[in-house]
Amino acid sequence: MAQKPQTLAEKIISGRAGKEVYAGDITLVDVDVTAVQDGTGPLAVQQLEKMNLVQAANPDRTVLFIDHAAPSPQKDLSNAHVILRTFSKKTGAHLSEAGEGVCHQRLVETYVNPGDILIGADSHTCTSGALGAFSTGMGSTDVAVGIALGKTWFRVPETFLVNVTGEFKKGVYAKDLILHLIGLIGADGATYKALEFRGETVEKMTMSQRFTLANMAVEAGAKAGLFETDATTKAYLEERGRGDKFKEIKADANAVYERVIDIDVSELEPTISKPHTVDNTVTVAEIAGTKIDQVFIGTCTNGRLDDLEIAAKILEGKHRHPDTRLIVVPASKEIFLQAVQKGYIETFIKAGAIIMAPGCGPCVGVHEGALADGEACLATQNRNFQGRMGNTEGFIYLGSPATAAVTAIAGVIADPREVI
């Protein structure tokens, strides 16, 4: 027990700093898991070469993901992928090949455990915070140093406690909650802070819903989105053969929070972020009827089995609007296979969807589903910045898988409560 009560961020970082640290302290920490992807990994490898440190301190927990441009759409990217494959062979670091899935989903499925510190060269690395790990996004050089030396430095963040109560109405989900929260506090409302999600509603959430919340912590500027561990965390790890890695991680009573945000979800409506910032939120009712040219269901935010199930149930026996394209990308190979076995993929194909390889899909604007000038997309992804989907003249709306599915059928933004 620490001398002073600790937040989750303080507790987890202290565990790897070898001393008690509190908000504002700067400390070196041991890193458990490091990750890079095909957009940031090649630069990380170049930096290691520059430092003459082509090595991995912990190769079995160093993972190189080919997910952003996978399979490669052009030769420059094919060559970038070779840099990662070669580094993996030289150092023994794990390689997650094209088609295996989005890094954040693969990390929680296979690599990250409660109490771990994960640094990843991708901003949505905060996803793993749902497992009670301190996980955060950094640049290529920071992660490169973490790969080689097994260490990094942190300034311990202050924490906002997000206390969630009430029961979701039908048609309203964790995605609507996180969009609402970001709308409430702003895209820089939690810059540098850790968000700690607690309360009766969070305790009842599945791991998948918790991943959705943690994933988007960075969209409020946060360094991490953290959850306590419980029976749900334990069951998730047990299903994946890591039950022995479970650890109880709870914040101390009377820990110091910079701010407490109370949200009662029983009043929450399906929520949408309008172009071009995530905090530009409205209720679905406010913009229902807006024409949509492309619907995208997938990503590290909402490409998991329960997301696909929600969408498939809505699309069952229906067809996309003739003027609206529908793209579905399962977040990982494991999810893809389960979705095939459960018949969701057949439902999507019959509904007129394009199914693409597990990975980031159209979210980053590298390939697959770039928008035309003036086109609008409704996506289940986490980011709607100008130019994000490959065209500064495109418009991106963010919503839940249910909102996405009903919108694909209607061809205009529609309210999922009309069919659920």
């Binding site: 420059d76 970038a80 640049g139 030396l149 820089d188 960075v218 604007g365």
Partner: protein, 169 residues
Amino acid sequence: MSETIYNGRAFKFGDDISTDHIAPGRLFHLRTNLPELAKHVLEDADPEFAKKVQKGDFVVGGNNFGLGSSREHAPTIIKMAGVSAVLAKSFARIFYRNAINVGLPVLICDTDQIDEGDRLEVDLAGGVIRDVTKGIELTFSPLPDAMITILNDGGLVAHIEKNKGFKFD
């Protein structure tokens, strides 16, 4: 901090300049060719910026500069374009840390007082920004000590090479 004094013109941008504005995803294939990517720096915020910017100039943003992706390529190509420092009212966390790692000074100050084209003089050690055009002085928030150490060593790669690991006093 370094005793360098920088001189240059201000290029003004608004709030929420994202890493997609600075280094767009559609140019993902140029990430392994940074000199080429640098020709497109900030293209999606100002298509002419890369042509107009000269060595020593400043990028001046509003709130939450650099939000979004972890791509270190964003501050790297700003530095490669010759920009001596980025000034903003606030920065997104990952961009801020990346900028220091690549040796690009990032200064938090009241940029509302600076206009496009103003001639600026930045004294890093003295902690002062002089808007020569307007005849005013602005102060900026000090960096954390760990970041000053890294910046003074010339970035994170140089810091690790010099100290054979992290060394914060």
